[in-house]
Amino acid sequence: MSEDVAIDEEDVGSASIVTVKGEIDVASAPALRSKLHSVLGDGKSSVTVDLREVTFLDSSALGVLVGALRRCRESDCQFKLIIDSPRLLKIFEITGLNSVFDIAESRA
């Protein structure tokens, strides 16, 4: 795993929250893909990815998140992103993914 990213998982019943800290780029995106693949393989009914402590995100990261969203939908699972950074939101808006993902500013 890249040293520039930390990925943690917290399970609450059938829901899972994946918290990412640091930079998600082409080097670290595979670690996120692997974690989400593992979480989604557990048959969770809800997966939330908390990106509030992500400081950089590129197209590789977006591709991983889109892949996870597709997989989640196939298994009737809810997939949600937590983003409170205008910088990250701008990236989702540029790519039109803000209208594809369920995005909230907090876990509440």
Partner: protein, 140 residues
Amino acid sequence: MTEETKPVATAELIELSIPAIPELLSLPRLTAAAVAAHIGFDLEEVEDTRLAIEELCLAAFDGRGPGRLRIRLKALPNALEVACTFQASDGSAESPNPRDKLAAELTEQLLSALVDDHGTDVELGSARAWFKKARGRQDA
């Protein structure tokens, strides 16, 4: 005494050559951010430049390898020109494992929004992607 950042008077050239491996793409990001700040880009423009050069390197690299990425940043008084060239070790610029279509489309969308002009040229043995970004442009 705090000195206000002033645009450079003449063009300055910064060149970087790195092995084309994902783990080293943070180096062009750091360099581009420093150069962008040096020529007076504001914080938002610096961050845009950091993402743009990442996407540029991904476009040039595109699963090719092994080889080197040569990144050339030209700091103009009110703009930054960046070119990233992948040079294959074996002389072939064909990508045995190109990125998926979605990732390539996302790169194109991001570059279109973040910079003023950009493009890609693939020739025998090398692939080159470039962009130009001026200070004070209004984002799409």
